[in-house]
Structure formats: structure tokens, C-alpha cells
């Protein structure tokens, strides 16, 4: 597709009571090839997806995207390191960022 580099990988971002969840469709990637970084409130997902086809083959249909990808997400707050969890299951990368609630004590 023409604009594939901007639409790969596709993701959903939603908020629950206690966290912000990012779900990214990333089928067939090696975890070593994905880099997840946070700088301030900016979350960056980048990496590379390599084609794993061995030997001489002849393609009939070629629609899947391979190569480098990068998505930048501006979070509504700055998370601390141990508040971010990420796991990969069935080709979906799920990043959960905990929201911290501080109770402000009223004086007087």
C-alpha cells in the first residue's frame, strides 16, 4: 500500500480506571527487534520486521509490510519506569501504563 509506513503497525489506545493501555498489532516480530522507549511523556515503539522466507520462491501475492517501523505516542502524563509493563501475545503487543493518583491532604 502507498501509505503503509504510516499505517503500520496499527494500534488502539484507551484509558481504564487505573491505566492507559496501548495495543499494537505486530504479528511475526522477534521481541529482540522491538525497542520501547520513554522520554518524558513520549512513548516510542520502533523496530524492524524481517521477512523469513528461505530459498528461492516465486511470489504470487505480496501485501504484508516488512522493514522498519516507528510509532510515537504522546502520553497525557509522564510515567515512571516501573509503572510501564509490556507483553506480547498472539502477535499483539500490549503496553500498560499505570496512572498514579495522589491524595492531596487538605490543611486547616
Amino acid at each position: 500500500m502507498f501509505f503503509i509506513e504510516y499505517s503500520f503497525p496499527l494500534m488502539d489506545i484507551y484509558e481504564t480506571e487505573d491505566s492507559v493501555v496501548v495495543e499494537v498489532d505486530l504479528p511475526a516480530v522477534n521481541l529482540d527487534d522491538i525497542k520501547l522507549t520513554v522520554e518524558g511523556s513520549r512513548l516510542v515503539i520502533e523496530g524492524v520486521r524481517d521477512k523469513v522466507v528461505t530459498g528461492n520462491v516465486r511470489y504470487h501475492v505480496m501485501e504484508r509490510y516488512f522493514g522498519r517501523f516507528k510509532r510515537i505516542i504522546e502520553l497525557p502524563f509522564t510515567p515512571s519506569n516501573n509503572d510501564i509493563k509490556a507483553n506480547y501475545k498472539q502477535g499483539v503487543l500490549v503496553i500498560t501504563i499505570l496512572k498514579r493518583t495522589y491524595n492531596v491532604v487538605l490543611e486547616g
Binding site: F3, I13, Y14, P27, A28, V61, R64, Q90, G91
Partner: protein, 149 residues
Amino acid sequence: MAVVRWSPWREIERLRRIMEDAFDEFLTETTGRTKKETFELAPPMDVYDTGDRIVVKVELPGVKKEDVEVTVKGRELVIKGEKRKEEEQKDENYYCSERIYGKFVRAITLPVDVKMNEIKATFRNGVLEVELPKVEEARAREIKIEVVE
């Protein structure tokens, strides 16, 4: 609200979606069917020929194994199923919703006859891979030409 760098292609993509929605709405009105029934997803796939078999790979991240159906009838291979949302979130809780859920179908006509009882399908890391060995007669082979004096 998320801040995303402006890109002209994203605008075109947005336009494409708006047009798609308009078509969906039009089809719903004229056919009386709901959007879900008129629209089926076509997940990206690769198909290649290794010489002795045809390999089909379809991207189905987040789809459960039991929600996928693979059938072969003659030379027609059909892969269909449904991508379901694991947990329903309220619309107002979304910052970004790009992934598409619902029914999907891909059908292809295989270029050769295949051995029906040796078809192998695996589903790993969100990719469905179907291997279809060709029947012996369909494999490329060299034919010796005898010279007759």
C-alpha cells in the same frame, strides 16, 4: 489528546476512511443490511511458490485459533473468521482506535492442484501459515527430449 506529527498521507488515509464510511452508509440504506454484514475485512497476506508447495501467510494478530476457519475445495482456498475485541471499552475512553474488528475473509484460487490430505496449517505469533504441497504432476520437472534420426 495525543499529539501526532502531521503527515499528508495520514490526511489521505483519513479521506479514504471518510469515503469508505459514506459508501457503507449508502449500502446500508439501499440494501437494508447493517454495516457489519456489508463489510468484511481483508487481512494482508503473502502467497508464494517454493517449487514443491504453495505457502499462504495471513496476518491475524489478536485473533483466536478457534475463530479461524480454513477450507480447500478444489483449487479454492478460503480463510475466514472473526477478530473479536477482548474487552469492550467505552468509546469515550479511546485516544486512538485504528485496529479493525469484525468478520474477515480471504479467498484465493490456487495456481495448481494440491494434495488435500497433506495440507498443513499453523498459527503462530498472529500469523496463519498454510502449506499446500503440490500434486506430483504439478511440480516443475524436466522433460528429456529424445532425438530421433
